[in-house]
Symmetry: C2
Subunit: 239 residues, 2 copies
């Protein structure tokens, strides 16, 4: 499994992903799920992936290989909408190629969160379904999750609003990941976090949170402590 | 869907369940999932149910109908272990009867949390799987969940310990239910909460939390507020 979360906030975009891949509990490995495509000063595209690793890797490889080809590619299209379309159609292409003989016993499907900014547009964020169609993030619910999303959702629902500062958004994403890691063995460190400031057209601040990151550990401990304190302060039920 | 949670704590047992049943989002109804069987001053048995409503209702009906029969029944057996066995075998009996023609398109399975105390024993708590086998709660992880369990698990993992007072346990169960209700439409009010004090052999304190329960609403609001405050107090990441 995997857990990825991304936010489209007023000041820019936040992306966060774990890196655990597993086929059963005795076959786990570390694979990055945050992929960055960048043309300096012109566009930044970030793709988070969850689902069948063979499918997601093929999709990302094909997108990468075609960057210098005659086909439509991530650096050639002029809007983030076209980027999402491209990810969706590449995902369908891989599924069509690989899932042909599958009798339905293996799930070949993958989901993607696709976000970034191309000069001339606002920063945009899309969720691409395994079927290749997609939806776009709006200020009413300014985040997307893919993978093992339930444990980490309550904190997002309570904290993430469109006007949340980027730094706070990243912190909330880390808390959401921490809650998921504590409850589900198939989600694990290291984490990739990328913070992109609106109209900066750079590579964003990309952080690698490994298991020896004291700051992340302190954050998780402080959150546990804060939760317990908040619980202790709750009013009694008047039955 | 459904969400039920129960705890076996030092001072006794806590049971909590929502009451929403749904088949799709346009066919929802209220059905209680907490069932009580009691012999005053001698035994209290509580059964929480989740899964296929036809199955769970049949299981509870059969257990009820047989109370005065010659067959093994809930008031005749001498341990909570036998109670769990009885719930498991009755569940298998119903599945065998009803799921025969099913081609695997409908899930007939149900899970049960079975707890209580019979004179001569400690209070005990069991989780009965759809297959009819079961596990017992131990002090290391003193709670069980059935149904839509992920949203409400992080708070349980952080707060519930064997020596938690019963009142606090009930409050934590309500918070866990509140988080689930906020995130999943298929879990809803009213809630059934039952607090059983060890060796009391009464009916326990049974509370009905309806949507006009101000105390529950205040609890949920205070929790949201507490979470936001805890989040605001978190240290910044040192990247």
């Amino acid at each position: 499994m995997t857990y990825c979360v991304a936010m489209a906030l007023q000041d820019g975009l936040v992306f966060a992903a774990d890196s655990r891949t597993n086929a059963g509990v005795d076959q786990i490995a570390t694979y990055r799920k945050l992929h960055k495509f960048r043309v300096d000063d012109e566009r930044l595209i970030v793709i988070l992936s969850a689902g069948n690793l063979a499918t997601t890797q093929s999709v990302v490889s094909l997108l990468q290989m075609r960057l210098n080809s005659d086909r439509k590619h991530l650096f050639g299209v002029s809007s983030m909408y076209d980027v999402a379309t491209l990810v969706g159609s590449t995902s369908r292409e891989v599924l069509k190629r690989d899932a042909g003989l599958n009798q339905g016993t293996v799930d070949f499907g993958s989901s993607f969160i696709v976000g970034g900014q191309i000069r001339g547009e606002q920063p945009r964020l899309f969720l691409v379904y395994p079927e290749g169609n997609f939806i776009e993030c709006t200020p009413d619910t300014p985040y997307f999750q893919i993978g093992e999303n339930k444990y980490g959702k309550p904190i997002l629902d309570r904290v993430v609003q469109y006007d949340l500062p980027l730094k706070q958004g990243a912190k909330c994403a880390l808390i959401s990941l921490d809650s998921t890691i504590r409850s589900n063995l198939s989600v694990g460190l290291p984490l990739d976090v990328l913070i992109y400031e609106r109209d900066s057209f750079g590579g964003g601040r990309h952080h690698d949170v490994t298991s020896d990151n004291d700051s992340f550990r302190s954050l998780g401990d402080a959150w546990s402590q804060g939760l317990r304190e908040a619980f202790a302060k709750l009013p009694d039920m008047e039955w």
